[in-house]
Each structure stands twice: as C-alpha cells, then as structure tokens.
C-alpha cells in the first residue's frame, strides 16, 4: 500500500498493524533523544489548504523523529495565490523529488484526486467533511491503551456528525474493531442519510451516557447557528454539551475524548476537559506516534512497504453492503 486515504483501505489487519507499530514508536518517543533513522533520506511534504495546528505539527514532528526531511507548503504564501491549480501544485512539488504528500483540503475527495495525479505516497490529513484517517487511528490507539481493545465497547459520538471528517473516519474504524457506536446529535447535525452506517442514532444524550464506555465529543462551530442548524450554542450546550452534571451519568470507568481544538463551555464544560477520565491530551501525544507508524509503514521498508496487499476497496464493516446503499468501506485507494 502506497497511500493512506481512508481507514477503510487498511482493513482490520491494517489497523492492527498500525497499532503494533505505534507501540514501538511510543517507546521511541519516550527516549531522551526521541529520534530513529528509519526514514533518513526521505522527504515528507505537508500540503495544507486548510488551517491546522495539531495535525500539521504532529505529522512534521513524526517525520522528524523518523529522521525524514520535512517541508511545509504554506498555501497562503505560494503560487496558489497566483492562481496555480491544485494539480499543477502537486506535480510541481512532486517533481522536486519527494516521497510523501500529507494533504489537507476543505473539499472532500482531494487526497484521492491528488493520488491519481502523483506517483509518491499520499496521506489524507483531512478532506472536507469526509475522512481523517490518522485521527481515527490515534483515537483507536488511545482507547486501546486504556481498555485493551475496542471489541464490545459502547462509544457515543456526540455532536456535529454531519460536517465531521473525524466522525466519518471514527465510525469506520471503531466499528471495524468491534465497538458499538451511537451517534448523538440534533437531526440537523446528522448526515441526511445514515443508510449503511453501522451505528445507532439518538437525540437524547442523557439516556446514552449511562451505557457509554467512551464519550467522543465533536467540535461545535459557531457558524452552525447562522445556517439554521441550531437556535443557539447555548441551547446546544444545554441539550448536547458534556456538562459537569452530565458527567455524573457516566459509568465510573468511562472515557472522555475530543479531537480538538475544544470549545470549553460549548461541547465540553471547562473542568470536564481536565478530568482524569479525559484523554484529550493523551490523544495528542499518541497522535505523533501513530503518524510515525503510518509514515514508517508507507515509506520505510522498500518500494511496497509492509502494508502491501491491501489495495482497493475493503469490505464494509457493517455487512450491509448492497447494490444501492453506500457500503461503509466503499472508497477505493488509487495507491
């Protein structure tokens, strides 16, 4: 496998392989000099058409710890401002002789398009509302670190699922690993159709929390009010925010997660984010190790890499694939 576009491309075995590799890179990260020569001579370029702090920095740090050269393509100060097309930009960068492009774009599908235009590895760093595979991988790794496995865990994904690439990749990965997912949101913040999604749906957070092993909160953006999706953030918080009172509904060992950046006081109360059960900073720390694992597996071991043999569409985790419904793992890697 040359590129990581969707978690569905990995399949269960691929995800497990990333998890195992991550274990060893967590160990590297804890060393006094957290650096190994695994990708010496390789060049990783981050091409971010959308603002990002943690994902971009996390990838750059991961690449540096593997001794790869990194370049950050700043769209705002580049030829893109002069009207250069996405395709030309990608092919220009590739012509300089690079090994991987980490792509983030506000439009769904861009990493697939880029992968069809260039010959180097492409890693999806987040495409529109669609997917954010490394976030899902680091979330799986983080849950696994606390609970050993995702098998049979009940995970509540709460908030703006409709506009969330984190939710789409998360639902795919969590259910592939055997978790039961409930999405909790007002109907306006759910995708127009959940046909083929292996999830339960709830509009009542209070009934979901007592049975949850993990509460995964999504970021709520203020502009959703202007689109008539919500009356107000205040009302959102009252009905769907993880407030101090709501936390008491959770089982004692339930975990709280959030992909960041968090809106304290909106989807999560200020002090809830800092509780011991909150894994938000753990997620960030694991993010570097997971991205080291992904880069290493894609670039580190010869032309094909160890994740070979898993090209193409993966089976749907839900088993509900029909000729008309969208299977959960429908997207084909053009690696």
């Amino acid at each position: 496998m040359r590129s990581l576009l969707s978690v569905a491309d990995l399949g269960v075995d691929g995800i497990e392989e990333v998890m195992r590799a991550t274990d060893s890179f967590v160990e590297v990260s804890e060393r006094a000099i957290p650096r190994v020569p695994a990708l010496r001579g390789k060049t990783v370029v981050s091409l971010f058409y959308e603002e990002s702090t943690r994902t971009r920095l996390s990838f750059e740090m991961a690449a540096k710890r593997l001794s790869a050269d990194t370049m950050n393509f700043a769209v705002s100060s580049s030829a893109v401002k002069k009207g250069e097309s996405l395709r030309d930009t990608c092919q220009t960068i590739e012509a300089m002789g690079i090994d991987a492009l980490v792509v983030r774009h506000a439009s769904a599908g861009v990493p697939w398009q880029v992968a069809s235009w260039v010959g180097c590895s492409v890693i999806n760093g987040g495409d529109g509302w669609h997917e954010h595979p490394t976030q899902a991988l680091l979330d799986c790794y983080t849950i696994r670190g606390r609970r050993g496995s995702l098998e049979g865990l009940r995970i509540a994904v709460v908030g703006d699922v409709k506009h969330s690439r984190v939710a789409r990749s998360g639902v795919l990965a969590f259910t592939m690993l055997g978790a039961e997912v409930t999405v909790v949101a007002p109907p306006t913040l759910l995708p127009p159709s959940l046909d083929g999604w292996p999830v339960e749906v709830s509009h009542d957070l209070d009934t979901v929390l007592p049975k949850a092993d993990v509460v995964y909160l999504l970021r709520m953006q203020a502009e959703r009010q202007q689109e008539a999706l919500l009356p107000s953030l205040r009302e959102y918080t009252a009905r769907y925010g993880l407030t101090r009172d709501r936390v008491r509904l959770l089982p004692d060992d339930a975990l709280v997660m959030h992909p960041g950046p968090i809106n304290r006081g909106v989807e999560i109360a200020a002090d809830v984010a800092d509780l011991e059960r909150s894994l938000i900073t753990r997620q960030v720390a694991n993010g570097v190790a997971v991205r080291m694992a992904v880069l290493f597996l894609l670039l580190g071991q010869g032309p094909s890499g160890p994740l070979s043999g898993r090209q193409g569409p993966s089976g749907p985790p839900s088993g509900r694939q029909g000729p008309s419904g969208p299977p959960s793992g429908n997207v084909t890697a053009r690696g």
Partner: protein, 414 residues
C-alpha cells in the same frame, strides 16, 4: 427505414436537399450504403451547450455541431447560458449566423430573463421574431414565481414554450451532488431531490394558472416524473425531457471523486433512474435531451466542490438510448427525433416523416455495432465524457443534413 409512420424496408432517394422518393430499387449518382442499418429522421437535441460565445476553449458552434452530426443529430437547440448570455435578438443572431456553416442545424433557445438573472423579462418577442421557439434560463431556474407567471402569460401570445431548469436555488444551495446515502458517506454537500421537485410542482401550478406551455428540462427524480405524469393526466400543456446520464448512471459513481460525474441536476439513486426510464416508456417524458455540457480541463481537474457541473452527451446518446431503455427502436427514435422536433417547433423540417418533399435530414445507424468510448477520439473540443472506456452498442454510420452527407461511414465530412 423507421419514422413516425412505422418501419419498412426501402431506399430513400434524395435530391436538392429533399427526399425525392422512397421505394425499392431506387438509384442515384452517389449511394450511401445503409445495409444492416436503420434509416431514420435525423435526431433532434433540445438541450445542447455550444459554449459560444465566451467559452470557445470548451466548445464552439462548429465543433459542437460536428459532435452532434457524428451522434446522428441533424438539429440542436443551443442553450443561452453563454457569456454574454443569449438574451437579446443580436446575441441570438450571432449564434444563428455561426450555425449557418455548421454540419448540423443550429437553433437557439433564448433566455427568459435579462442576463439570466431572474429579475426582468428578456425581449421574448424580438427573439421569437428570429425564430426562437424555446426560452429558458437553463443553468438556473426562474426562482421568482410571479415573474415566471408573467413570462408564461406573455409567452402564450407568442406561441413559444418556456423551458425550466427546475431547481430551488435556496434548497439546493451549496450542494455538489444528490443528497442521500452516498453524499452522506462521501462528505460532499448534497442537494435534495425536493429542490427539483418543488419547482416542478410550482410550474405545474403556474401552467394551470396561466394556460401557458411549460417544458421541463432534464427531469431526474422519481417525484418529478410522477408530478409531470399527473399534470399530463390533468390535460395541462406540459412536456418533459430526460438526459441519458439520468437513465444510465447513479450517484454511486461519485464515490470515485472523479469530477466528470459532477452534473446538474446531479446523478440520482437507482430508484430515480428506474422512474426516469418508466417515464420515458409511458410517454410522461417526451424527449431524450443530452444536456451536452463541455468543460475545459481546468474547470474539471479541480476539487469536486469547485468543478463545473456538466458532461458531454451528443456522441453517446443514441447508443445509450438503444441499450439502456429496453424500448423498441421506434419508441427510442420518437424520444430522440420527432417528439423533440415538435417541442422545438421545428417539426416542419426535422423529425420526419420520411416522405417525398420532406427536407432530407436523416440519420443512418447500425443498432448492433459495438464500440468503446475514447475521449480523445470525440469530436467535441472537450473530453469530459463519463463513459470513457465504456463499451457501447449502436453506432451512427451516416448523417445527412439538408441532403448533404455530413457524416459518411462514421467520419465527419467537414
């Protein structure tokens, strides 16, 4: 030989641009071999984007007409969403003049409103005086119900037809594909079927109110087909067309994120495809219209959200109609030739019947020849066909325009 009167085996003798005789054993100086083929009235496309003026890098009247002729068409109606738009007599005349030398009869649809902006009526009468029989703001629907009502009332005195691109622009805002299971999974903002259906319903009501004649462009949803079926049963003066891609492809194709599948109205669900086919079979939908929409690569090789909607259609429509619809060839030709000719108001010269004295606008095709779509081999100036690499059955052998063989053995003659 197939036309509205039925099918029979015969030679067709053409002289001075007209059919001179139909019968057995006719001879002439120049003979086009139609062995194993169907000779039919030339096809008529109600919905062609020729892109001239303004987007000549995507298509011109000349190249679009050549693509049409190769697809078996002898007449196309050029849509007015050019730059500048065809909203004045002068703009219409420019395109008609360009069409004089083309290898296909180029007719023009005028805009309903000035600048296609949906605020003021365009000079419908002045354009009608040049022979314009269809008016549309295609690319957008007329959003203002009061303005559409006035346009229908005004147009009824001119004997012209208003053609609507049915899309409630607010309901559809921000959408780039059909809203449903696939858009939800793919994370692409969708536009619901209802954005089309509410305008179909509104214009049916306005047709009832005004007695005006409405033609529905590119129907794509089951709800739209059902609404038009009911309107026809009621006796309202409405007609409808459907595009080949709306009975051939579904929104599942978008999973590739290939922008060649971005089109408006968007590719819909398998249930919608079946409803469009049923509508074509039972007479609810009167015509197959290509919505041939060429785009230069720089407007397609971009993120899906930024890509322009539209796909080529002229050179593949006949094959798709013959293979996808499972209708008798006479029914297919009714949808591709004489029924659209009537809607376009050009049935005196196009769409047959193939009798002595009629203008010799003919299409000769072999319904069983197989071929594979090669985008580079298309005559259109653009390459955005969604059927690249697809095996097709049914190929045009000759096209005759006003007695001139403009396509012979599948090759354009000029």
């Amino acid at each position: 030989m197939v036309d509205v009167t039925g099918s029979r085996r015969a030679d067709v003798l053409v002289s001075d641009g007209r059919i001179a005789a139909v019968g057995d054993g006719l001879d002439a100086r120049e003979v086009l071999d139609a062995g194993g083929c169907i000779v039919a009235p030339g096809l008529v496309d109600l919905h062609t984007h020729l892109r001239q003026p303004g987007r000549e890098e995507a298509e011109t009247v000349e190249t679009g007409a050549r693509a049409a002729a190769l697809g078996g068409y002898t007449a196309v109606v050029a849509m007015p969403n050019t730059d500048p738009p065809l909203d004045t007599a002068a703009a219409v005349r420019e395109v008609l003049d360009l069409g004089v030398k083309a290898v296909c009869d180029v007719r023009v649809a005028g805009a309903i409103t000035k600048g296609r902006a949906g605020r003021e009526l365009a000079p419908l009468g002045e354009m009608a005086d040049l022979g314009v029989r269809l008016f549309t703001d295609d690319g957008a629907g007329v959003q203002d119900g009061r303005l559409m009502r006035r346009a229908l009332e005004y147009a009824s005195a001119l004997g012209v037809t208003l053609a609507q691109h049915c899309e409630d622009s607010v309901l559809a805002a921000g959408g780039h594909m059909h809203e449903g299971a696939w858009s939800s999974r793919l994370g692409i903002p969708g536009m619901p079927a209802e954005a089309e259906e509410v305008m179909v319903a509104r214009d049916i009501a306005l047709a009832r109110l005004t007695g005006g004649r409405v033609h529905f462009l590119h129907l794509s949803t089951a709800g739209s087909v059902a609404a038009v079926r009911a309107a026809k049963a009621e006796g309202l003066d409405v007609t409808a067309e459907a595009a080949p891609h709306h009975f051939t492809l579904t929104d599942a194709a978008v999973a590739s994120y290939d922008t060649v599948f971005k089109v408006n109205p968007p590719l819909r669900t398998p249930a919608d495809v079946e409803a469009v086919k049923a509508g074509l079979a039972d007479g609810t939908i009167d015509a197959i219209a290509t919505d041939h929409a060429p785009h230069a690569p720089e407007h397609k090789e971009v993120p899906f959200d930024e890509a322009r909607p539209g796909m080529l259609g002229l050179e593949t429509a006949l094959s798709l109609a013959l293979t996808e619809l499972e209708l008798p060839v006479t029914a297919v030709l009714a949808l591709l030739s004489w029924q659209p000719a009537r809607i376009a108001g050009i049935d005196s010269s196009h769409g047959g019947p193939l009798g002595p004295g009629r203008p010799a606008n003919l299409c000769v095709f072999d319904a069983s020849t197989s071929w594979v779509v090669d985008p580079a081999a298309l005559a259109s100036r653009s390459r955005n066909t969604p059927y690249a690499g697809r095996a097709m059955t049914g190929k045009v052998r000759h096209t005759v325009l006003r007695g001139e063989p403009v396509v012979v053995d599948g090759e354009a003659q000029r």
